[in-house]
């Protein structure tokens, strides 16, 4: 019987992190931006497999990396939210609780399993002026190792995160109208591919609209998107 080689935990974690980062780096980025009356989630995505999805009344999800893994996370999020809303009330379903649950689940896999999840996800919750204590929008980012952070204004996930973040740091302003935010997002996403303009049919855009009653999530189709971008 041969003895296993000793590998320092530090080395193991580093290797896993590098593996996960590589996997995520192969895919395109995704941006979440606040605008004057909601939150817009954008991704460059020519395929019909969605990277953005509805979780609950005020909560949306965006993922990058390995599709099968983040889509599984999305479904788990929907189950988490629907069970919670059924057991308590619809207003008790909160983005922060979901982001924390993601953080634990993803972190667990990172430490316990041989292969880490090659994903990064965003949980966005739009503020509701009627709901005391939750008037403000919240955006959470959970990384492949389970580390969680909250963001105001905008948040970028994915391979070209740094470049896009630098661009948005310089150009993003709060309380922009939807059209302007979408144009800004498109330009930012284009930076990942040498500044090329991303065609509307290659964009996936969903919004959480404050003004909507009940389920605030809505997917913009290409025609609507063209209208918003065109102006």
């Amino acid at each position: 019987m041969s003895l296993p080689f000793y590998v320092s935990p530090e080395q193991v974690m580093q290797d896993k992190a590098e593996y996960a980062r590589k996997g995520i780096g192969r895919g395109k980025s995704s941006i979440t931006l606040e605008y004057d009356s909601g939150i817009a989630l954008m991704a460059e995505n020519p395929s019909s497999l969605s990277k953005i999805g509805e979780i609950y009344d005020r909560i949306a999800f965006a993922g990058v990396g390995k599709f099968s893994e983040f889509d599984q996370l999305r479904k788990i999020g929907v189950r988490f939210a629907d069970i919670k809303g059924y057991q308590y009330s619809r207003d008790d379903v909160r983005g922060r609780a979901l982001a924390n649950a993601y953080s634990q689940a993803i972190g667990d896999v990172f430490t316990r399993e041989l292969k880490p999840l090659e994903v990064e996800v965003i949980v966005a919750e739009v503020g509701d002026p009627e709901l005391v204590g939750h008037e403000e929008s919240e955006i959470y980012r959970v990384q492949y190792d389970g580390s969680i952070s909250d963001h105001t204004g905008f948040c970028v996930i994915g391979g070209s995160e740094e470049e896009l973040r630098t661009y948005l740091d310089a150009n993003f302003r709060a309380h922009l109208p939807l059209g302007e935010v979408l144009r800004l997002g498109r330009t930012a996403l284009g930076r990942a591919t040498d500044g090329a303009t991303v065609a509307p049919e290659n964009l996936e855009v969903c919004i959480l609209e404050k003004a909507r009653i009940g389920r605030k999530f809505r997917r913009l189709n290409t025609d609507e998107l063209r209208q918003h971008l065109g102006g």
């Binding site: 999805g53 999020g77 629907d82 069970i83 919670k84 999840l117």
Partner: protein, 276 residues
């Protein structure tokens, strides 16, 4: 530690429900909060709120569903302003008749079920799929129905593919029967059907449809003690919901009051419908 909805985690050993149905998710992963009345033994002697008239019929733009607001326990009033008609999503609705508790719970689960499916799958069910799902839920309730907790809803909605309103009635075994023109159920359902038989026209406008609905509910309340009439003193009006291509729309109280008052004035004047 178990995180709700997160099963046992992500590894290869990942257990837990993986499908698209909320009801199955409850039954498989959360049996302690799932909805199952059959474990309570014989409930026949237990008095639970009952009594109803709910109706549905087609009109020019789609389908309309209406229901009174009274719930009774035997000879007593349990509640005067129960809601019996619920939108289950943007293009479908359910009207409940039977034991109030399980019926309201079924309507609630139906709504979550449709939304859950749509979110998980990224696409909603066809209207036939929705009606079929409801029929399975009623069938699953059969043991409870045998013990006296009968739930027999109406389901109606707008079929975006065929571009028309559609509706179904159900029996306790989960049998589902599509109706072409109109249907009413509950203790006063017979009277509402008789009323609609005289007044119903599928080409009716929205306003005419509201009048037919209010008239049928008023006739039912007139003959059936389990059905609540319109109470202008307390301001209790039936729930009336239209469903057409753009979606769901609820009739406002002033609109229902207006229609009701004109019907009453006509009847008081001894003209058309005075003796009905």
């Amino acid at each position: 530690m178990r995180i709700p909805g997160f099963g046992s985690g992500f590894g290869t050993s990942s257990e837990g429900y993986r499908g698209s149905s909320f009801l199955e998710l409850l039954q498989v992963d959360y049996p302690h909060i799932a909805f199952d009345l059959s474990r309570f033994g014989n409930l026949e002697r237990l008095e639970v709120p009952h009594g109803t008239t709910v109706l549905a019929f087609k009109y020019a733009d789609g389908v309309i569903v209406a229901g009174d607001r009274l719930a009774t326990e035997g000879m007593r009033v349990a509640s005067r302003d129960v809601q019996k008609v619920y939108a289950t999503d943007d293009h479908s609705m359910i009207a409940i008749a039977g034991a109030a508790g399980p019926a309201i719970e079924m309507a609630r689960i139906m709504r979550i079920e449709l939304e859950h499916y749509e979110k998980i799958e990224g696409q909603g069910l066809e209207i036939d799929g929705k009606a079929n799902k409801l029929s399975q839920m009623i069938r699953a309730n059969l043991p409870a129905a045998m013990q006296g907790l009968v739930v027999v809803p109406l389901f109606a909605g707008y079929d975006l593919r065929r571009k028309q309103g559609r509706m179904w009635k159900f029996d306790v075994t989960g049998g589902r029967y599509e109706e072409a023109e109109f249907e009413a159920t509950g203790s006063g359902g017979l009277y509402a059907r008789e009323s609609l038989k005289k007044s119903h026209r599928a080409s009716a406008t929205k306003d005419e449809a509201l009048e037919m609905a209010v008239q049928a509910l008023t006739d039912a309340a007139d003959e059936d003690r389990g059905t609540g009439g319109i109470d202008t003193v307390r301001g209790i009006f039936p729930t009336v919901i239209y469903c057409s291509e753009p979606g769901i729309e609820q009739a406002t109280e002033p609109a229902i009051r207006g229609v009701y008052e004109s019907i009453m004035a006509r009847r008081a004047n001894g003209r058309a419908g005075a003796r009905r």
